[in-house]
């Protein structure tokens, strides 16, 4: 129900992003999606990977500081208004979106939205009540792999 996202701290200089990506590729791990939050001083690389436990061990062994966060993945139609409709669910609630990212996938015109909520469990309840499809970890992996 909640998805494990790995975050890495990167210094803001060339080559910082390539190294962890290569490391995972070498171990046969697929990065399903990623987003890079960058500031003038540093970057935070956030990733959803096919095997988060093994990825974490590999990255930590290589000296990276890895932060594991539970995020929520929601499937929506990849059409105009898809996101806006979904966000309506959280209006007038205590649920806050810390950040989010999205990606389109598959041949069916669908999109997956990844949310970092301040209250993920409450958010999931709301989404389900609204009839939205909250994706399981394994689903994220398979759907994206289609």
């Amino acid at each position: 129900m909640k998805i494990h996202q790995l975050s890495l701290f990167l210094e803001n200089r060339p080559g910082q992003m390539a190294a962890p990506c290569k490391l995972l590729a070498g171990a046969g791990i697929n990065i399903r999606t990623l987003t890079l939050a960058d500031t003038e001083r540093f970057g935070i690389l956030r990733m959803i990977v096919s095997d988060w436990q093994r990825s974490r061990s590999l990255l930590e062994e290589a000296g990276y500081l890895v932060n594991v966060t539970e995020v929520v993945a929601v499937e929506v139609a990849d059409t105009p208004g898809g996101l806006g409709e979904l966000l309506e669910v959280f209006v007038d609630t205590e649920i806050n979106i810390e950040y989010m990212y999205a990606f389109a996938f598959g041949p069916l015109g669908r999109a997956a939205l990844i949310f970092r909520f301040n209250r993920p469990d409450a958010a999931i309840d709301r989404l389900r009540e609204a009839g939205l499809n909250v994706l399981e970890e394994v689903e994220v992996y398979h759907r994206i792999a289609v």
């Binding site: 701290f9 990167l10 210094e11 935070i44 000296g63 500081l65 932060n67 970092r116």
Partner: protein
């Protein structure tokens, strides 16, 4: 021989015959030891513990029976514990940064201020200043001893003093040009910064009436001197001092620039082995230890300066008989001097610890940008500090910057570094990377072979 045209009467002790100087020093030493023994409990306890009485000081060599005083003693007795005068007789307090959050406090009676002014007059006179000079005093005025020390010295000399204090570089350049300044007092790195800024503003300092710079409060090198003298069209003098002893005016270069004359009728110099504390013979390099011979409010007996230098006993061609020390190139502790401000890595640790309650691995990097010293603190991210949220990381950065700047009184560039990115050393952690290229030359290099610009 002497390049100075005028002799100031205050400079008379600079030329005392050595035999007479030793007599004067012994007389003053006996008095100051009696005073400290009578009024400073810490000193009395230490002497009693050694079974030494003030009357055991019969010759200057007996000084080595006395215990050292260290910066830690000043910290441990904060704020007034080492005063030898009642507060009613103390007319001024100054403070400088200590090794932890608390500063160290120094005190002056009226007579102490008179002595301070007189040694500053002698220092400025040795740099060739007279009552005709217009002096831009760009040392900071305030708790720091630099500003007021130079101010009263220059005023007492009869020079015209401009108390512009530190900072506001464009205004400094305007003052220098419009007020026809002939001499400036500031840190050498700030003067280099002034030169660069003047260039940007289209002001050629070489063409201004400025002829002398009196630079101190931080170590600097012969290559900096050459740069300053050529770019500024001035003669650059090194001045030495420390708040614990009096402030600026402990010693100064004469126009021969071959070491700094110590005003040893007030400050008795010894060179000791920094490890064993044993006194070293003249000419050998070691830690400078100073005893104040005339201080009333806060006598310092055998104060460990942590500055590494040597004593040159041979006479100076300028005719002064007071002994010289070599220019200070390094220290025996981990104190860093940035823009005249003392910084200890322990202060940085305390500030980092205060932010999150844990001490991350860190490194201090010193650089010189456009002639100004800059300090960067790289802080390694720990699992406790790391968040996937940018806002949380930005806020951490802000808290670290604020804590460091509040503690050090300096702008600090904080860099968040990746885990394990800062090199670990085998033994004592190498916390400081000094990239300012200080002390890259021999201290005894004689720059008199360099043609000095004359106006």
């Amino acid at each position: 021989m002497e390049l100075e045209s005028a002799f100031h009467p205050a400079s008379t002790p600079d030329y005392l015959p050595p035999v007479r100087m030793r007599e004067l020093q012994l007389e003053r030493l006996r008095a100051v030891v009696r005073r400290a023994y009578g009024n400073v409990p810490l000193f009395r306890e230490r002497l009693n513990a050694r079974g030494v009485r003030p009357e055991d000081i019969r010759e200057l060599g007996d000084l080595r029976q006395l215990p050292f005083t260290t910066k830690a003693d000043l910290r441990d007795t904060y704020p007034f514990g080492l005063f030898a005068s009642p507060i009613e007789e103390v007319v001024r307090l100054h403070a400088s940064s200590g090794t932890t959050g608390k500063p160290i406090v120094v005190a002056y009676t009226r007579q102490d201020l008179e002595v301070w002014t007189s040694v500053m007059v002698r220092a400025l006179a040795a740099c060739g200043l007279t009552h005709g000079d217009i002096v831009q005093n760009a040392y900071g005025y305030g708790l720091f001893t630099g500003g007021l020390g130079a101010h009263y010295g220059a005023e007492s000399l009869g020079a015209t003093v401009i108390p512009v204090s530190g900072g506001n570089t464009d205004r400094q350049i305007m003052v220098m040009k419009d007020f026809r300044v002939t001499a400036i007092c500031c840190t050498p790195s700030y003067f280099i910064h002034l030169l660069e800024r003047a260039g940007e503003l289209g002001v050629n300092v070489r063409e201004l009436p400025l002829r002398v710079g009196i630079f101190g409060a931080e170590p600097w090198t012969e290559s900096m001197r050459r740069h300053i003298e050529i770019e500024g069209g001035i003669q650059a003098f090194d001045i030495y001092g420390l708040s614990e002893i009096i402030g600026p005016g402990v010693g100064v270069e004469c126009s021969y620039h071959n070491g700094l004359h110590i005003f040893e009728d007030h400050f008795y110099p010894e060179i000791v082995d920094p490890e064993t504390g044993g006194v070293l013979p003249d000419g050998e390099e070691g830690e400078l230890v100073l005893t104040t011979l005339s201080k009333q409010a806060m006598p310092m007996i055998r104060y460990r300066t942590r500055d590494i230098t040597s004593l040159a006993p041979e006479p100076c061609p300028c005719g002064r008989t007071v002994r010289r020390i070599g220019r200070i190139g390094r220290r025996s502790d981990d104190m860093i001097i940035i823009r005249g401000i003392n910084v200890f890595p322990s202060q940085i640790e305390a500030a980092l610890l205060a932010v999150e309650g844990t001490l991350p691995h860190y490194q201090i990097i010193l650089t010189r940008q456009k002639g100004l010293d800059a300090i960067e603190v790289q802080v390694e991210i720990t699992p406790e500090l790391f968040s996937d949220k940018v806002g949380a990381m930005e806020s951490l950065h802000g808290r670290l910057s604020y804590a460091l700047e509040q503690t050090l009184g300096l702008r600090v560039e904080v860099t968040l570094a990746a885990a394990r990115s800062i090199r670990r050393s085998e033994g004592k952690a190498q916390r400081v990377m000094d990239r300012r290229n200080l002390g890259e030359e021999g201290r005894h290099e004689n720059p008199s072979t360099v043609a000095l610009p004359r106006k």
